[in-house]
């Protein structure tokens, strides 16, 4: 069943990213997602960017047509929510490297927040196209995390990919775990870099979803279903899969190479 709720707050996080807050009581954990129904448009899987208490939140980057429509949602608009679904990040590691690319921080921030409150030492590597697109940078800093930045255009921090920053950190500092979310090629690189020091990596993966109940097969990724087996996976489970970082499935189930149109 869906619960129709009223959006209570809309926050422009970056020029291309919007957070919607809404009251939704069911308990949720960082890493989990909800299916969000925008009546008259679509229903999409979205990681919760605020998981604590009744006031939940989702944070959406305007990539596709629907996510651009989502960004037009205003406080007072009605949306439908079902869930939460999926698994969660294990918050027990004491020294965590968080690697977020683009809107990946949406799911990483609540995990980091709860972990920080429990005394976890956080280092955050954030990547974006440009400085203004660095998502939740202030939020990570407020938790007491050390934040290192990479931007494609060099407008702040290291010019280039966040993976360079992550590789540097992994080769010089000890971590008990890496949490990452972003483009799969990025997560793949991070996982490979963490392999040398032997730090376990947990990736939050995105796939097209329909049922979110482990039935329709839309989110099949090799032998796993992202909606019920994930969305958080240990990297060693993903790295051997031929589809990981290479292809996903469109709504018809056809295999589509990442980046292909």
């Amino acid at each position: 069943m869906r619960t129709v709720v009223e959006v209570t707050q809309r926050v422009l996080e970056t020029p291309s990213t919007v957070t919607l807050r809404f009251p939704y009581a069911p308990a949720s954990e960082p890493g989990q997602f909800v299916m969000v129904w925008f009546p008259g448009d679509d229903e999409l899987p979205m990681s919760l960017s605020y998981t604590d208490g009744v006031s939940k939140g989702i944070t959406v980057k305007g990539m596709g047509v629907t996510s651009r429509n989502v960004q037009r949602i205003q406080a007072g608009n009605q949306i439908g929510i079902r869930g939460p679904y999926g698994n969660r990040f294990d918050l027990s590691p004491r020294r965590v490297l968080v690697v977020g690319g683009g809107s990946g921080s949406a799911v990483l921030a609540p995990a980091a927040e709860l972990a920080a409150a429990r005394g976890t030492r956080l280092t955050v590597a954030l990547g974006a196209t440009q400085a203004s697109e660095l998502l939740f940078r202030d939020r990570f800093e407020r938790m007491g995390a050390r934040v290192e930045v990479a931007t494609d255009d060099g407008s702040e921090g290291t010019k280039g990919y966040v993976t360079t920053v992550a590789e540097q950190l992994l080769s010089t500092e000890p971590f008990d775990a890496v949490w990452t979310c972003g483009p799969e090629v990025m997560m793949q690189k991070v996982a490979i870099a963490a392999g040398t020091p032997g730090v376990p990596v947990f990736c939050s993966v995105e796939r097209h979803m329909k049922c979110a109940l482990g039935m329709c097969d839309a989110c099949a990724l090799g032998p796993v279903h992202v909606c019920v087996d994930g969305p958080v996976f240990p990297a060693e489970r993903l790295l051997p899969l031929p589809e990981f970082a290479r292809s996903h499935r469109d709504p018809s189930g056809r295999r589509v190479t990442f980046g292909a149109r």
Partner: protein
């Protein structure tokens, strides 16, 4: 240990529990996963001529534990790309049944021929999806159409042909009889029941397509009645579908006349591990009731001539 192997007319299965079409069948790895979990066979998504995206979301409405409403809209990668998925499942050793949907007899025959080339064990004709314009129930509700479609496919392929019958018709048994007359090796019943959900706050149907199909425990009594009537009407084997989530659900279908059953919605509630559990439970239950094999119970609930 009761013998779970069954024969459905011309083909055999290691146990009577088939993965129903539409569940997990878009990717070969998923079909292989259901086989590895213990399914007696796996039925593919219904495949059409062209790739089809299906309806926009919402495609699902959930209820506590008695049912599930869906209008997926027959999403599938199309018959040109789908053979690779069958190949993956077959490489894992799975017994694969290929489901196809089409708008008329000629297209059914052409698609079935292509599906047969993938090496499937049998073909199931989707004559019963309740919510796709121009397909499913719309071409499977008239006995004459059903007979024509089945006949055209049977003429085209060597593998056994199964006709999946709609419950959204006044007389499903006559549709099954028509399929038998057309040369079907077996019939399966039922598909989902046409159904609707409305969000009262938003004053609109929940599913993007409006109408959908109801599955799950709520429809078991309806499926049982259809299988019962079909069993009395035809002599080809019947495959029972609708709301099966326990060994006793399956036993009801078997006793009503089914030789095998399809399991779909139960995968949502119990995960794919449901297949191993169903097989183990059915074996134990048959032992307890004093039957040596599944075939010993097929149809035994029907009135006996004393």
């Amino acid at each position: 240990m009761a013998d779970l192997a069954v024969r459905v007319g011309p083909f055999g299965l290691r146990n009577p529990f088939l993965l129903a079409s539409g569940i997990w069948g878009e990717s070969g790895e998923s079909l292989a996963g259901a086989w590895a979990a213990g399914a007696g066979g796996v039925i593919t998504k219904s495949i059409g001529r062209e790739p089809r995206l299906g309806y926009p979301n919402p495609t699902i409405e959930t209820y506590s534990d008695w049912g599930l409403l869906n209008a997926m809209g027959l999403p599938n990668p199309g018959i040109v790309e789908y053979p690779r998925e069958v190949a993956i499942a077959r490489a894992a050793g799975a017994a694969v049944i290929g489901s196809v949907f089409a708008g008329d007899a000629g297209e059914f025959a052409r698609l079935s021929a292509l599906m047969a080339e993938t090496g499937v064990l049998a073909i199931e004709l989707n004559l019963s999806c309740p919510h796709a314009e121009g397909f499913g129930t719309e071409v499977g509700s008239d006995p004459a159409d059903v007979e024509e479609i089945v006949r055209a496919v049977v003429r085209e392929v060597k593998v056994p042909v199964i006709a999946k019958i709609t419950p959204n018709s006044p007389d499903p048994a006559s549709l099954a009889a028509a399929a038998e007359k057309g040369g079907a090796a077996a019939v399966s019943a039922i598909n989902t029941l046409r159904a609707l959900a409305i969000d009262v706050r938003l004053r609109r149907p929940v599913l993007a397509h409006g109408l959908g199909g109801l599955s799950g425990p709520a429809i078991k009594p309806v499926g049982l009645a259809c299988v019962w009537q079909i069993y009395e009407r035809v002599s080809v084997p019947v495959i029972g579908v609708g709301g099966i989530s326990t060994a006793d659900d399956a036993l009801e279908y078997l006793m009503a006349g089914a030789r095998a059953v399809e399991v779909g919605t139960a995968v949502t509630h119990g995960g794919v591990g449901v297949f191993g559990r169903l097989a183990a439970d059915l074996s134990a239950r048959l032992d307890e009731l004093g039957y040596a094999s599944v075939s010993d119970v097929v149809g035994i609930a029907h009135p006996r001539e004393e």
